[in-house]
């Protein structure tokens, strides 16, 4: 594209002014996506024909001057259902699945005029931190294609970082929005549990899953939240709390903001380069008028342990529905019904999904239920109480998003344990249901690092404003991979 847009507001203005049409924009976006696909593999499905039809319709009905998503291409993680459009969760077991309904978030963005540009690649059923477990192949990091993009929302992160789209949706069960956002130098927000409807999100762990925005900057993430947040009666856990205007909440003023930095977040296991970068970021927040103290979340160090009991337990239950009867893959080799179930599941699921189903089945089985599931559920309570204590005195909690920058493709796939430890800084917010954002905080060895800001329940406005103040007073968000055609090169 000859014209380049840094944010939704600029892009929207160009569409309103008719500097370019929605059709031209969508055509150019599709060209960029296809140009990058060989290198990135960020998509399971590119929605070429339908996207162009939606863009044409946007041009015909006129761009809505009051709506920044009017005629704008948006990418959806492929575990969000899209009516009539292939939705696979990156699993063979759903390789041919065409949902009969749109996820609530898709309905809302479509109503706001967004064009469905495609479905992004992910770890199978969102289980992973590197987007290497997809049935449709590994996603590559646009900053260095020998590195992973993080995961599980690796496809959404890569396509935003590559400059194909300004906005994508991901889902976050243990860090799956924030960690890939950090690895790709973009913004990713996991909202409070219940802030965004999970209707149409293919369930992984229902008490942890949340859908959220992945964008190039904080303002665009806030704009996306304005569209997707709110009560949906089809998700009984979605909250009726009033949705504030998240964009209007971005004052950039954090004078007097009380920040707690958990000592557990900068301790062992954190890469030295990452630690330095985050310490510098914290000094910046202090210079902007915030007060910073060291605090403690003593039980957060047990977060990984609790997460790898509770997540797989819920997953083993949720994934019982994949049986080859009503939709998706069915084994051609079954002589009876029992064999149909077993062979369909054994042939349809990949190893990581099987591992988690078995771990969960084990944790819930007689003899293990009290020692594992109930124990983890109690640790979860202690983690929530730790956060409550800190939030009695502090407005936000700040630290790194991930312990390292992006690692090499294939480096950790052999050892699930090493892979699981990457989630140590992100799972506490999921276990406690808290809003948390990752915002670009510079590079280590040429790879992006993310600053994580965690807030009180339903305090997305303050979390985003903290990230916004940091972004507006640093230039890290202007750094783009050389592959990106957007931005300030």
């Amino acid at each position: 594209m000859t014209q380049q847009f840094d944010n939704l507001t600029e892009l929207h203005q160009a569409l309103v002014n008719k500097d370019l049409s929605a059709t031209e924009l969508t055509q150019q976006t599709l060209t960029n996506i296809h140009d990058h696909e060989d290198a990135l593999n960020a998509y399971v499905t590119v929605n070429d024909d339908e996207a162009l039809a939606q863009a044409k319709q946007a041009d015909e009905s006129g761009i809505d001057a009051d709506n920044v998503f009017s005629g704008v291409p948006v990418a959806y993680k492929d575990n969000l259902t899209t009516k009539g459009l292939l939705t696979t969760a990156a699993s063979k077991i759903l390789y041919n699945f065409k949902p009969v309904y749109d996820a609530d978030v898709v309905t809302r963005l479509r109503a706001a005029g967004a064009v469905t540009i495609g479905k992004t690649n992910l770890d199978e059923f969102a289980m992973g931190g590197s987007t290497e477990t997809s049935y449709f192949g590994t996603v590559h990091n646009p900053w260095d294609t020998t590195k992973v993009p993080g995961g599980s929302s690796g496809g959404s992160a890569a396509t935003v970082a590559a400059g194909d789209v300004l906005a994508a949706l991901g889902s976050d069960t243990g860090g799956s929005i924030r960690q890939p956002a950090a690895f790709n130098g973009i913004v990713g927000l996991k909202p409070t549990y219940g802030r965004v409807s999970r209707w149409g999100l293919i369930a992984f762990a229902s008490s942890l899953d949340q859908i959220g925005p992945m964008t190039q900057n904080v303002t665009d993430a806030a704009a996306m939240m304005n569209v997707i947040a709110g009560r949906d009666e089809r998700d009984a856990t979605s909250s009726s709390k009033e949705v504030p205007d998240y964009v209007a909440g971005l004052s950039g003023d954090i004078k007097g903001l009380k920040i707690g930095v958990p000592k557990e977040f900068l301790g062992d296991g954190i890469d030295e380069g990452v630690r330095d970068q985050i310490k510098t970021a914290i000094k910046k927040l202090e210079a902007l008028g915030a007060t910073v103290d060291e605090v403690s979340l003593p039980h957060s160090t047990h977060g990984i342990q609790a997460y790898y009991i509770l997540g797989p337990s819920e997953a083993s239950s949720n994934l019982q529905r994949f049986d080859g009867i009503r939709y998706g893959y069915r084994t051609p080799n079954a002589k009876n019904l029992e064999e149909l179930y077993v062979k369909t599941r054994s042939e349809g699921f990949g190893d990581e999904v099987k591992r988690r189903i078995m771990l969960g089945t084990f944790a819930l089985s007689a003899g293990s239920f009290d020692a594992f599931f109930m124990k983890a559920a109690k640790i979860r309570t202690l983690i929530i109480e730790d956060f409550k204590k800190v939030f009695a005195d502090y407005d936000v909690i700040v630290g790194p998003t991930a312990p390292t920058p992006a690692f090499g493709i294939g480096a950790e796939t052999k050892d699930p344990m090493t892979m699981y430890m990457n989630d140590m800084l992100t799972v506490p917010a999921n276990l406690a249901g808290l809003p948390a954002v990752s915002v670009p905080a510079g590079l280590v060895d040429g790879l992006p690092v993310g600053l994580q800001v965690i807030g009180r329940p339903f305090d997305e406005s303050r979390v985003l404003n903290t990230a916004f103040a940091f972004e507006q007073n640093t230039t890290f968000h202007e750094l783009k991979p050389s592959m990106s055609k957007g931005g300030r090169a």
């Binding site: 009969v100 856990t237 609790a306 790898y308 078995m358 771990l359 202690l382 699930p416």
Partner: protein, 103 residues
């Protein structure tokens, strides 16, 4: 948890409960991997949780009732179309008992 966290026989039993069949190679691999993972998560037992209530639900609201009104989503055909095998508008599955055994 004392002794070994999980044996190969237990892994095979758990796979059966989860309706998964494992090859020999998978059973060995999963046994050592699950063993390692369960040893890691077993570290939770260092924490005293006497008198701590478990958290299993994160929703901030209790159940909200809606009007009990039946609605027709008119999606029967679309849903049936997604099934791998159908006949006369029904989803078709193999017999519960192995048909080849009748012969």
């Amino acid at each position: 948890m004392a002794e070994e966290p999980i044996s190969r026989a237990e892994v095979e039993h758990v796979a059966e409960l989860a309706k998964l069949s494992l090859t020999d190679e998978q059973a060995s691999k999963f046994t050592s991997q699950l063993d390692e993972i369960i040893t890691m998560i077993d570290g939770l037992n260092e924490v005293n949780t006497d008198d701590v209530k478990p958290t299993t639900n994160m929703a901030d609201a209790t159940a909200i009732l809606r009007e009990d009104v039946a609605v027709n989503a008119h999606q029967k055909d679309a849903l049936i179309n997604e099934a791998p095998e159908t006949e006369d508008g029904f989803i078709k599955v193999p017999a519960i008992i192995d048909e080849s055994e009748d012969a």
